[in-house]
Symmetry: C2
Subunit: 210 residues, 2 copies
Amino acid sequence: MARKPTSDSTRRSEKSRRAIYAAALALVGEVGYARTTIEGVAARAGVGKQTIYRWWSSKADVLMEAFLDLGAQAAEQAAGQDARPGAEYAVPDTGDLAADLKSVLRATVDELLDPQFEVPARALAAEGVVNEQLGREFVTKLLEPQLQLYVQRLRSAQDAGHVRADVDPRIALELFVSPLAQRWLQRTAPITHAYADTLVDYALHGIAPR
Amino acid sequence: MARKPTSDSTRRSEKSRRAIYAAALALVGEVGYARTTIEGVAARAGVGKQTIYRWWSSKADVLMEAFLDLGAQAAEQAAGQDARPGAEYAVPDTGDLAADLKSVLRATVDELLDPQFEVPARALAAEGVVNEQLGREFVTKLLEPQLQLYVQRLRSAQDAGHVRADVDPRIALELFVSPLAQRWLQRTAPITHAYADTLVDYALHGIAPR
């Protein structure tokens, strides 16, 4: 990450940082990624553009961290406690794999339907589809770290004998994550908690008779 | 579809139609959906813009049909025979569900990796993510009819006892289609025939021990 936190004026900095995140997310949602500029974000946040350049090296960096912060805030609200950045999508391990996956997937449904997340996330995702460099940065910094949390949970399930040892966890997670992502991104059909539960059940037990 | 074929000069019309499709696909891949215009397509195809308006009512209509035609051409080449428009992704029914799904999914991998398809398809998909009206038209006219072919194949598999009767075919198909779509659209990981096969196996038999 390109953010370089200053050691002085921490409270004032924190306030500016949050204002910059909010401005960046609002702007990208309104005008799209291509027309979002550091100058525009600075003006909307009420800070000088040097304040932004002191902490981030590009608009892509500002946006990536704004999304990480949004996720951390959502997790904080949900958990009622401080959340570590990047830990917002931690998959619980209660020993009941189906229940754990459903709980995280249901929370993802809620987030995807929250306009505060949805509008800027769509703008960034759309740009990532045609702008390969941004798309790869988006995947490396935001998406893949979340998917790796599912990999860890599925590995632990393999150790417990709840997932077959010959299954590749990185592919397996896509059976329930990707359908949700496609319905949301391409608006192919509605997303609900019941749908999330069905995906997990089908992925675990398959659609062929047992 | 908005195309209104003329009954005279059929051969000349067919040539113009193909030139217009090629121009529309090339242009949208180069400059994106928003900056593609009927005028630009007409100029590139070497026809008057009235020729385009005689057959289609909007640039979205031209593009949708250009993609349908591209798929039909690909199927024609693959099958070595005339293909009906819209039938390009017909799922075979040999009685072996896994083999049938793998054969179609492998062909989809090949199409997604073909630059002639990939570049314009990405441009249209990206616009569909942020432009809700176009996105819904894209899904209704292009994507959902293809997905319904999987629904039919899965229903026939249910009749044959190869898929559980309580499974919803419209959700089940997403277990192997959506992961491929997401890897392609968001470039989260490479797509290969082996990957397509793995998705079908996991979807049919699940990842939990049997």
